[in-house]
Structures are given as C-alpha cells and as structure tokens.
C-alpha cells in the first residue's frame, strides 16, 4: 500500500472497527434477539459500557449510523475529551428508516423538507413547490450530509460512509453523479475520506472507476458463507485481491452463522482487507473477536 501523502486521502484506518447494529435492534438472524438487544440498549449507559469495554480492548473507532440515539452517544464522548482523546467516529449516513418512515407518512417533498434546515432557501423553495433543477441536487445532497453530520460536531470523523441502502439505490438507478457529490463534499467540508457501504462490490467499483474516484474505501460483507456478497464470492475475492480500493469487511461472522475462528481466518486470509468491523454486546465476545483478529493479522504489513 502506498504511504499516506495528504491528510484527506491518507487516513490509516484501524485494523478493528466497532459497529453499532447490536445497539439499534438490527440482527440478521432473529427478530427476538434484536428486540432483546433494543430493550437492553435503550439505556444509554448500557451502550457506553459496551463501547468502554471495546475501548479497553484497544478498539478506538466506532462506525455508526446517524441514528437519533447516536447523538446522545456523541454528547457523552464530547463531555469526556480526556478519556477518549484518541477516539474516532466513522459516521454512516443516513439511518435510512428515519427517511423511509417519514416519506411514507408525509410524502417525499415534505419529508425532504423535514430534514433540511428550516430557515434555508432550499426549504422555502420546496415549500413553494418549485421543481428541483439540475444544479439543486448537489445543494440538497450537501445540506442533507451537513444535517446528518451535525451530531458529530467537534468529534474526530476521519471517514464518512454512505449507507448501503443509499449507495445501492443510487447504483441501481445509475445516479452516478451523487457518488461524486458525496465524495467532493465529504473531502472539502469535513477533510474526511469518503467511504461507501455496499452489497454489490464489483458493480460499485466499476462505477467509482468510471467516475475517477481513486482507491475508494468500500465497506461490504465478506464472509465465508457468501452471505449477501452479490456478484458472488469468487468475484469478491478477485476484486479484493486485484482491484485498487480499500476494503473494509463487515458481517464477517454472518450474524453468528460461522464459528469465529473459521470466519476470521477467511477474512484475515485476504491481505488487502484493511479493516474489519464487527459488533458485539458482551465484553467476552469483544475480547475474543479482537484477539482473534489481532492473532490472525500478525505479520500483516499495514
């Protein structure tokens, strides 16, 4: 890997990132388990305890959606700057259900208005029912990104991700401009490296290549059973080995469908993967997973 040259493109990601699905009732195997987790984590203190446990194991990066409750987590980190001096957030935006539910309830334009600054000209324009002209999509996207980033103010956010539901929606629609708008705004406004979460790695890489977005951070499922690796495991393995991008592996345990060691051997056996993101609720699980990744990454040249 080339060495870092500029502050915007050279952020070195930690090997292990901590995810947030477990905090917000997302579980790919069981709705009951998801519900039990959302009960446990409705208390902010319970979330902080788990983040602290991860911190004690050396995990310094929290990769999280812009869920409303993440704002409270951010407050806690801002209030304790000494304790978390070296801590980083990787925001993933947006938490799509808040948009989807608003669109269902209020309609598309009204929902858009709700998420834009109330006092802005854009909001006034939408209120007036003015058609969105071509130049406006860039301004609207920038405002939406800014709205999502608000909760992270004064925290370190060296990488900002577009959530997979948006990445893949835009990818299918072929609204490729949007990837470029996101990329440019995240770099210019936040001095951060843009990242893209996707379930369709080969297809996304083709589009980012066309756009001239060089060496992008792309986060996707990488697991030994091929769960949600669209295009197929072989195509993923080939892309990871041979294409120029910075892979972040998620869903590595496939919600528990694979035994941890076997799962992580598969992921860590692909040397181009820069980081592994996982979520867990208990200290023992966090310790075991972190230790396994560290063990299996020995000798790896970052």
């Amino acid at each position: 890997m080339s060495t870092a040259t500029t502050p915007t493109s050279g952020h070195v990601m930690d090997r292990v990132l901590f995810g947030d699905n477990q905090f917000f009732g997302v579980n790919h195997m069981s709705e009951e388990k998801a519900r039990a987790q959302s009960m446990r984590f409705q208390d902010l203190g319970a979330i902080i305890d788990v983040l602290d446990a991860a911190y004690d194991e050396g995990i310094r990066t929290f990769m999280c959606t812009s869920h409303d409750r993440v704002a409270l987590i951010c407050d806690h980190f801002r209030a304790n700057p000494q304790k978390y001096a070296d801590y980083r957030f990787y925001p993933c935006m947006p938490y799509a259900h808040k948009y989807a539910n608003a669109v269902t309830e209020h309609g598309m334009i009204e929902a858009l208005r709700m998420f834009l600054p109330q006092e802005g000209a854009m909001s006034a324009m939408l209120k007036g029912g003015v058609a969105l002209a071509s130049k406006d999509i860039e301004a609207i996207m920038q405002l939406l990104i800014d709205a999502e980033m608000k909760m992270f103010h004064d925290l370190s956010t060296p990488v900002v991700f577009m959530q997979n539901v948006i990445t893949d929606l835009l990818l299918g629609l072929r609204m490729n401009d949007c990837f470029r708008i996101f990329h440019d705004h995240v770099r210019a406004r936040y001095g951060a490296e843009p990242g893209y979460i996707t379930m369709n790695v080969p297809r996304l890489l083709d589009v980012l290549d066309q756009l001239g977005i060089d060496n992008p951070i792309v986060c996707a499922n990488v697991n030994k059973i091929g769960f949600r690796m669209c295009g197929g495991m072989a195509a993923y393995e080939d892309a990871i080995a041979n294409r120029r991008f910075r892979p972040v592996a998620m869903s590595v345990l496939a919600s528990g469908a694979i035994a941890p060691r076997e799962a992580l051997e598969y992921v860590c056996g692909q040397p181009k993967i820069e980081s592994v993101v996982f979520g867990a609720s208990g200290r023992a699980n966090i310790r075991q997973t972190k230790a396994l990744i560290d063990e299996l990454s020995i000798g790896r040249v970052p």
Binding site: S30, E31, S38, T104, M108, L173, N200, F227
Partner: protein, 356 residues
C-alpha cells in the same frame, strides 16, 4: 433483452426502478410519473427517459413489459392498458382491490397468454418459502390453526396525508399491511373460505383503519387469526410473522428465521428430528445478482424476467393468485356475501372435553 417501462416512481417505485435497471436481461427504456420534480431528477441525473403521461409512453415506446408501481387505485386502468397492448405486467401489491375488475384482468391476460405478477415479495423470502414447503410436505399433520401478524411504525400520530392514509386512494393498514399477511396465509396454508369477527379500527388516522383483526375459516374446519397494526412504534420496520399449528407440531416463520417443532419425525422430512429445528435467513437466502433492501425484492424481479423469457403463465404471484388476496380483503370489508360458516368437521376443544 426485455424492453420494459415503469409507471409510478414513488418510494416503492424508485426501489423497483433501481433493481429493474440493474437487471442484466431487462432494458428499462422509460419511466413515467406525473410528479415533475422526480422525473426532472431522473432524466437529468440518471439518464432515464421520462414521461408524465402513461398513454403517451405506451404509444411512443416499443415495449415488452410494464412495471406498475402507482397508488393502488390506479392499478386496474393502467394494467388494462398494458394488457390491451399485449404487454407482460408486473404490478405492485395490492392487486386492484375490486374482485370483478381483477377477474377481468386475469381473464384478459389469460386470453392473450401474457405473463403477470404482483409484488407480494414475502413469497420470495427464504424463511417463508421454507414455511410453505414444510406445510405442504404434510409433516405438521392436519393443520388446525394459523396466525398471521403484521406490525410496524407507519401512522404514529394524528396527521400526515399521503395516499396511504386516504381511503379512496386504496390506503389504510388493510391494503398496505394486511394484504401481505393475507397473501402469506394463502401461500402457506391456502385461502380462507370465510372470515368473522372482523375489527377494523382507526388508531390515529382520520379516514382509514390502522389496525385490522379477524378470524378466518378454512375448508376442513381449520381456523386462523389475522392481526395487523401499522401504528406500533415498538417495531423498527414492518415485521410479519406466520405461525401454523398442526396435529404433529407447529412452525413460526418471519423474515429472519423459520422455527419448526415436530412432535414426531415424519417421512416427508427425512433428516429432521423431533423437537425444534431452526433455519436462519443466512442459510435460507438464495444469492441474488443485485441487492437492495432484501434478497426478495431482487428475486421477484428476476422471477418476472425469467417468466417473460419462458412465457411462464402459471408461476408465483400471478394476477389470479393475487386476486385471492383481494377476495379476502373484500370479505373483510363485507363487500362479498359470505357463505354460511360450515359446521367444523373436526371436533373442537369444547366438544372433545365435553365428550360430544
């Protein structure tokens, strides 16, 4: 390539559009929606040829198929126009909510040998497919009860005004949520012959029902319950579950898993032991070529494309199949005369303990 157009580019429409455009066998030649801010964006930023008027699009474009994702009340006339022109049709659910009009469309498509499909995507969810397979195997014995539930956070306060909350647009929890649960019942255990004890209540909405409950009766004496509530914020998103009880066990399936309990092993399920067997979405999901929001949305579009290519007229979720869900809705609305509830052929709990 299947030359395809789409009408209706709202929330569900955009999701379909994304998947359809990503399909290697489909050439999505145009989209149609009366909302100009949407078509402006799609034509400028997605390079999609857009129309504001369906008739003009159908006149201008040489098409093989049409995807209809407009509000429900517009389905019937749009589908008819497409069929009249000899197009295969994929229509978003619910189908047309008028049994007579629906039957005409079923007959028209059959007369012209056109492929039809309705977007009841739960039939493409691995766990529900597994539930249907298990029930059809006969391993549960004689089915005597089914419960279909759908809950979620759609209408949570006394305001809001999209077409989903307007009665004359085909809105309401009955059409939006209950239809899915009803179709799953039809898929897994068969269509009820009658309903009773129907409750349709508004919780927050002015014009439409937010919750629907009903007893269902089936041929052979089995019973069922339908429980639907789209004003439940304790769910992060729509959650649908079906449970089936038989003389040799039960099963419960939702989007994530299929739990089976067998009292005794059954020759139809070799290798499945007595007691609990649980299969998860991670091993029940078939890989799709493109993923957005769930395998099932891609799988149903791929299925439609394959049906068109193979001229498969008796596949999953045909108009005739979806019309069965519309029939149950009509029963719930009291719009069709219900057959007198037959005396249960099997002896129920009370007669058994009473020795009657």
């Amino acid at each position: 390539m299947i030359r395809t157009a789409m009408v209706g580019l709202g929330k569900m429409g955009l999701s379909h559009l994304s998947i359809v455009r990503a399909h290697p066998e489909i050439d999505l030649v145009a989209g149609c929606d009366a909302t100009t801010y949407l078509t402006d964006i799609l034509s400028r930023h997605a390079g999609l040829k857009c129309y504001a008027d369906l008739d003009r699009m159908l006149e201008t474009e040489q098409l093989d198929a049409l995807v209809v994702a407009t509000p429900s009340k517009l389905h019937a006339p749009m589908v008819k126009k497409a069929l009249d022109r000899g197009l295969h049709v994929f229509c978003e659910k619910p189908f047309v909510l008028d049994v007579a009009a629906g039957q005409e469309l079923v007959d028209l498509a059959a007369a012209k040998s056109l492929v039809t499909q309705v977007g009841y995507h739960y039939r493409f969810v691995g766990a529900f497919k597994e539930a249907a397979r298990l029930v059809k195997s006969g391993a549960l014995g004689t089915i005597h009860h089914v419960r279909a539930e759908a809950y979620g956070p759609v209408v949570l306060r006394r305001k809001g005004g999209t077409w989903r909350s307007a009665k004359n647009e085909g809105g309401g929890a009955l059409y939006d949520y209950a239809c899915h649960a009803i179709d799953l019942v039809n898929f897994i255990v068969g269509t009820p012959t009658s309903v009773g004890g129907v409750v349709r209540n508004s919780v927050f909405s002015r014009d439409v029902d937010d919750e629907v409950y009903s007893t269902m009766h089936f041929e052979g004496g089995a019973s069922g319950q339908l429980c639907v509530n789209w004003s439940d914020e304790s769910f992060r998103k729509m959650s649908t579950k079906i449970s089936v009880w038989g003389t040799n066990g039960r099963l419960t399936a939702d989007r994530q898993e299929c739990q089976l309990f067998l009292r005794e092993t059954h020759p139809a399920l070799p290798g499945t032991g007595e007691g609990w067997t649980v299969h998860y979405t991670t091993d029940l999901s078939d890989e799709v070529w493109f993923y957005l929001r769930g395998e099932e949305y891609s799988a149903q579009i791929d299925y439609f494309a394959r049906s068109v290519k193979a001229r498969r007229l008796d596949g999953e979720n045909t108009f005739a199949s979806a019309l069965e869900a519309d029939r149950v809705v009509a029963m719930l609305l009291g719009e069709v005369a219900m057959p007198a509830v037959a005396e249960p052929t099997r002896k129920g709990f009370w007669s058994r303990i009473g020795g009657g």
